[in-house]
């Protein structure tokens, strides 16, 4: 709800990619509910570089989506994709024409926003899904989770984000320029009470273990524009110094060690300046943040939304 109101609506994000995960799936499922309540249909989320996620079915059926260009396929979505050739790119036989290379290129240059989850974020805003012994989740995130310097075409979201960039005037003077929104959503504590905000990314350990030249970072701190946690949103793009950015990160890092370092007065100042927003700043009632917000609450309801065309793999069926 915070992401939809504080980012999608605020910037009018139209072309985007969602990472895989519960948070973005929840947003997809909230377009026909909370999205409609906010009157956002037609204003946001129209063009996607995205796999044919089943969780997109309610939004597609509710008329939110103009097009989805896919990186790859999604098991069980064949019939639905064939039936919705107005949305998906299909061949004459109705099967999906996915193209990973085009999607990566579009994802890199054309998208207004990438939003996804990670495993760890450090105090500067660098994030990685690398653990001490493995690298995961680097599929599209580095291409999409950065600001493509070669981009020259404008869009409302891109320009708004770029114009509010705290460091823009120091770098390019009075020249207007945009910036892609790169959003990380993260609960402050993950399963087993592992903190998501850490002193040092495990990527450093992996770099030492594997003799790498540098830690495998998924998204660098200067590319990330927003961090969303259950505490609130940090609008990092609006900060002008690294100290300010760290203060904004601390303000949404909850009860992790990093979050406990937050200075209440600084946090208050950042909230007044719109650099940090909590649910009450966005006029969101946290009591409404529950499953009733989801357009489909289980896989069977997704099948119903699809008119029986989505054919989920047997492991997702409990009926």
């Amino acid at each position: 709800m915070m992401a939809l109101k504080g980012i999608y609506a605020e910037y009018e994000v139209q072309r985007l990619n969602h990472g895989i995960g519960f948070f973005t799936a929840a947003i997809e499922l909230m377009l026909p509910t909370y999205g409609n309540e906010l009157g956002l249909k037609g204003k946001i989320c129209k063009n996607w570089a995205l796999n044919p996620h089943p969780t997109m079915i309610p939004a597609i059926e509710d008329g939110w989506v103009e097009s989805i260009h896919c990186f790859g396929g999604e098991l069980g979505m064949e019939d639905y994709v064939a039936a919705r050739s107005d949305i998906f790119f299909v061949g004459p036989d109705g099967t999906l024409r996915s193209n990973r290379c085009y999607s990566q290129t579009a994802g890199h240059y054309a998208m207004d926003m990438f939003i996804g989850g990670t495993l760890q974020i450090d105090r500067y805003g660098n994030s990685s899904t690398a653990t001490a012994n493995r690298v995961a989740g680097f599929g599209g995130a580095p291409n999409m989770g950065c600001d493509p310097k070669g981009r020259r075409h404008s869009s409302r979201a891109w320009l708004k984000c770029g114009m509010e960039l705290g460091s823009r005037e120091d770098l390019i003077g009075n020249m207007p320029r945009g910036k892609r929104l790169v959003v990380q959503m993260q609960e402050t504590f993950k399963e087993k009470m592992d903190p998501a905000f850490v002193e040092e990314l495990d990527a450093w350990k992996l770099a030492r273990n594997a003799n790498l030249d540098l830690p495998p970072v998924m998204i660098y701190g200067d590319d990330i524009t927003h961090v969303v946690t259950e505490v609130g949103i940090a609008y990092l793009s609006r900060t002008s110094t690294i100290e300010e950015r760290m203060d904004a990160i601390r303000a949404v890092a909850g009860y992790t060690e990093i979050g406990l370092e937050a200075d209440d007065r600084k946090t208050q100042e950042l909230r007044e300046r719109g650099i940090v927003k909590y649910p009450e700043d966005l006029d969101i009632d946290i009591n409404r943040a529950n499953r009733s917000m989801l357009a489909a609450k289980n896989v069977k309801q997704l099948v119903e939304w699809s008119g029986g065309l989505y054919n989920p793999p047997s492991r997702f069926r409990n009926w």
């Binding site: 609960e187 402050t188 504590f189 009470m193 259950e230 505490v231 909850g254 009860y255 406990l260 946290i286 009591n287």
Partner: protein, 107 residues
């Protein structure tokens, strides 16, 4: 899984007492908790008893509860929490939700 009991007591600078009897909120599901709040004369204090299997987060409990009590200027309330591995966020959310229910019931 042994349960531990933690006890805390708080006093806020500008206590504002509310009278509501007793209120129960939440379910002790996995990663969740229940809270029982009762208004009673504690000389302006707020007493919290936490029963939890979690070890090593006493300081975090202290912080979460202290912020909740201070943000809401609570006084003369006994709070009992039965926890099953809630994250700090869940704890503070359930407490806020419980209080909101209490306040909406008083309108």
């Amino acid at each position: 899984m042994a349960l531990r009991e933690l006890n805390f007591e708080y006093r806020t600078e500008k206590p504002s007492r509310i009278e509501f009897g007793m209120h129960h909120y939440g379910v002790v599901g996995s990663g969740d908790m229940e809270v029982i709040m009762e208004s009673m004369d504690l000389g302006g204090a707020v007493k919290v008893r936490v029963v939890t299997p979690v070890i090593g987060f006493d300081k975090v409990w202290e912080k979460v509860l202290s912020r909740f009590v201070n943000d809401n200027s609570l006084a003369d309330v006994s709070i009992e929490i039965n926890d099953n591995n809630s994250t700090p966020v869940i704890v503070s959310m359930r407490l806020r939700q419980a209080l909101q229910e209490i306040k909406s019931g008083m309108k």
